[in-house]
Symmetry: C3
Subunit: 424 residues, 3 copies
């Protein structure tokens, strides 16, 4: 894998020990009913590959639902071979070598059929889901559940429900949202009071089924502000999108988090649909002109709510370090999306480790859509972590190797377990 420690080095020794830690992954997009890939098509459909391939000129047609999967793999793989300098490529190569017995050091497009066949055989064999997790090794994976997800049919101890709230906050006016909330909660929202009632029903429903976090992604223009009572009622009755309504629903959800003891993951900075003709999930980018001070009102208003915060750009990392160091309820969380590459992780992680108490750092989350990506994405993070621990702590004598491994254990397991306790 690119940017990994060199064999025989202190960092590699540390990495070998870190690799034993059983991971709790506090954020993913895993569909629990189809958590693992059924074929290499499920891997190549990960938006990283489709968007990078599209960026290299791949037409979008092959991404249609009715396009033959085998042909799609041939098509996408032809482009993937041309991104062998990227870390995304190195995740895929790692998966091919580790799970499909691929032996080459570079992916060759002519191997598409062979890889497709191998993946059908191996990924559809019984027990693959568990084997896939063991490559982490990952014990628990947090999900991203729509507010009306029935949360049934899966082991909520392995796949931990998490209430995603973007739709209610930013798309309240869209067809069906209110109705779906009514069907889930039995409460028809007609004003601020009934909104509060519906949300509490919803929270109780999620908690009863093992939810351990609430989550939202916020655009860079978002400012947290209370909009309550009659003001919120008026907002709820309006048509069209409304900043005030988003602020008000967001605020009420934070209040529910306080009442029910749920942490509230804030993923701050994404602009949706900047590239409307992009591939699915490859349309969103960001605007670096934002500040965590926009969220300070919610940090101040709800001191009992833990807010794990993610940022999209390394340029925001200085703020994230400072806000986590000052606010008792702000936690620096993972390396999100466009910031999830070794060159940025290394500088961001060093600053976090040097400036934030260890308990307040969620080292990493996979953000994955299929389980196979958990192990190589975590491995990338662990490689960077091992190098930083070796250089900054163990080599200068500030920590023993064991102490450094325990610090890694906090980041990868103990902190997710403690910050997101089972409440039920």
């Amino acid at each position: 894998m690119i940017a990994s420690p060199v064999a025989g080095s202190l960092a590699m020794d540390i990495l070998e020990e870190i690799n034993q830690i059983r991971i709790i992954d506090p954020h993913s997009h895993i569909p629990p009913e189809a958590a693992a890939a059924k074929s290499i098509d499920d891997l190549l459909s990960y938006h990283y590959y489709t968007e990078l391939a599209h960026s290299l000129g791949m037409p979008k047609e092959c991404l249609g639902l009715d396009y033959p999967a085998r042909d799609r793999c041939r098509e996408v793989l032809g482009y993937v071979c041309r991104m062998d300098n990227t870390v995304q490529y190195s995740w895929l190569l790692w998966i091919l070598k580790t799970t499909l017995g691929y032996t080459k050091n570079a992916i060759e497009p002519g191997d598409a059929d062979m890889l497709f066949d191998a993946s059908l055989k191996i990924y559809q064999a019984p027990g693959w889901e568990r084997q896939s997790l063991e490559l982490g090794p990952i014990d628990q994976v947090f999900l991203t559940n729509d507010f009306d997800d029935p949360l049934t049919g899966f082991d909520t101890d392995r796949f931990v429900p998490c209430l995603r709230t973007d739709e209610m906050v930013f798309h309240w006016q869209k067809a069906g949202v209110k109705e779906r909330l009514w069907r889930r909660t039995g409460v028809e929202v007609v004003d601020a009071t009934s909104l509060g009632k519906a949300l509490r029903e919803l929270f109780q429903f999620f908690l009863n089924r093992g939810a351990r976090a609430c989550a939202i992604s916020l655009p860079p223009t978002f400012h947290a502000q209370p909009v309550e009572g009659a003001d919120l009622t008026m907002e709820l009755l309006k048509g069209g999108p409304s900043v005030g309504r988003s602020q008000g629903i967001f605020w009420e959800i934070a209040r529910c988090c306080a009442e029910f003891g749920l942490p509230f993951d804030l993923m701050f900075g994404v602009n949706r649909n900047v590239f409307p003709k992009g591939v699915h999930q490859g349309c969103d980018l960001f605007d670096q002109r934002l500040s965590l001070i926009q969220l300070a009102p919610i940090f101040n208003a709800f001191p009992s709510v833990k807010f794990p915060v993610s940022v999209l750009s390394s340029a925001q990392n200085s703020e994230l370090v400072a806000y986590s160091w000052i606010f008792p309820n702000v936690i620096a969380s993972g390396h999100w999306w466009y910031a999830n590459i070794p060159g940025l992780i290394e500088q961001d992680l060093r600053a976090r480790l040097h400036g934030i108490p260890r308990e307040k750092i969620l080292g990493y989350y996979s953000d994955m859509y299929k389980l196979e990506f958990g192990p190589p994405k975590y491995l990338m993070f662990k490689q960077v972590l091992a190098r930083v621990l070796a250089q900054d702590y163990v080599a200068p004598g500030a920590m023993t190797r064991n102490q450094a491994v325990e610090l890694a254990r906090d980041l990868l397991r103990n902190n997710p377990a403690r910050i997101f306790p089972a409440i039920r």
Copy 2:
């Protein structure tokens, strides 16, 4: 200490020579009448520890003035042990080992009483202040003096007065400010003219007592603009806070700096009271959405005034490098507050060394409240500096080891001495 060079390395050899340089520290908050700690309580009361402990959940009660010092140390130390990954912890551990004979590699909370007793004995012994400075070794420490500080009772050669102007610029309307200025200067400010007269009396007073700098911290929203004459008079007579008044007083202070030859330290970017329930001095954060272009008018208007500029975030460092490289009167100054951690210092320092002429870099200032912190904070900086000098200059043959040490001497001693000359 974390992130330090490895023993036996070229960087460590360079560090050993750099450690002999007698430092001039161009910015601190030392109270000259109680410059050194009287006990470990004075160390643990440093806002870094109280705010990080508070961030870990420590209630604020123990920080009250009437809380027993020994109990407070027990309390705070219990939290400090949980931040052993931070550089702030490594400063404290260094002090305990170097000054109190502590022999462990990690601070144990059970040692609180022992450390408290040892600190009373050692810190209250005669000569401790001087011994503490010799650990740097630090020859001179610049202070931060209120505008009505009498500047008496201390050796102004060791502790150099510096006129802090935030109160006049940003809190003119607050009770007592005008009166205190009148008492110090004998001038009652009723308009722009009398303001100019009062400020000149004030500057003369400070210069007579050895002041070598003027200083201010500026919020990220600040734009330097002249507000003068009748406009300024009108602003001075207004109640409440006023942007125009702040701009006008700031501009007039810069004019006085030009007339009296005082450099004007600008510390740009702090938002006050973002976390109102924080501990003392732990309420302030920042907003990265700012640009040094907001200060360009003052750089242009007063070319004879040297402006050492500090920024709060690594994201602003690119601008600081460019503005120092272009404006003859802009000097890149230290690594301020939230940017004062090795992972950020390293990338910021490298860019400064590669792009700014050596004379225009103030390497570091301690920002300390008690002398004991000077040596470990400077040591942290010197460790990073030694590593950068070794990797970027000496190893590739661009400088000899001696030349690199002379570069360090410029940053740590010669530049502060030259940029802030004694004027009296």
Copy 3:
């Protein structure tokens, strides 16, 4: 040179191979009729040296056209000696050693006359231009041509024309601009339609003479928006500067790029004349408060146009990586101006290599005004590149040494050749 790889290291071995790559330099300010220096005066007149010398206190008088060149060199060199920590100094020292036989490791001001004499002899000898390029080795250098440049009298295969459009977009109202466009194209612009006609004539003229790119630098406040038809006509008839007119002309130029197949270099972020009393070309700085989202409309509107994008600050690099990864027509381009120092290049380059497919990275351009600077500026980049390739790819086994060198070849030669094809 500062920050270069250490002799005998893997990075140095890679560098030696990379040094054989014959470079295509996709952006410079070379005047083709006087491409190489005639004396060391032409080197010391490079704005890097005049602005850094001015920043150190050099009066501007010596920069006058009638000031004796030999005296100017003495004067400037006296200041240059005081910036021996900077990378700009290391470029110059490299040139003196490599081309003038200078043998010292530090430039001594007393050598000014000797260096001046040597430079006259060597730089004015026949064949110097070609020898100078061979030090790169550089095969092709892209120019920056005014829109009414006759493009005659030089070898357009060696010096590739590039249509610079700043004047038309931002200074349309200035005396002579419309007239010069009329003289070049035979079209008098009286409305949007005739503007379109004139631009197409202009593009055809440039293409006929071998142009392979269109280029512009944009201020941080610029937002790309279509202003067309009657609206644009109205803007064209207005006096004074106008945001809408700039947007409209820019949009029409992008449309011409689409029609003619020319890539459009966007250099985003410069504020002109921030320091009006600066030296020539040393008055411009930047404002980090900008986002590539401001350019998204043009990326979306013209998907067939390749947009190589440069940014001024390392703080914008995260955005550049993300936008290049998502938009098929956005290409990360070089390390521009204030971002062109090793400490920043290293972190920016690592992120680009880890996150952008190799075909979409233009590794470097010289931005030079005289050919002598191409080799040391490229060498600086190649040194950083070799170190990143060694550490992140070859040492961990992700690439062989040969593969790493081929990646470098893409960045330095193949990508410029493919992204800017000869169209004629």
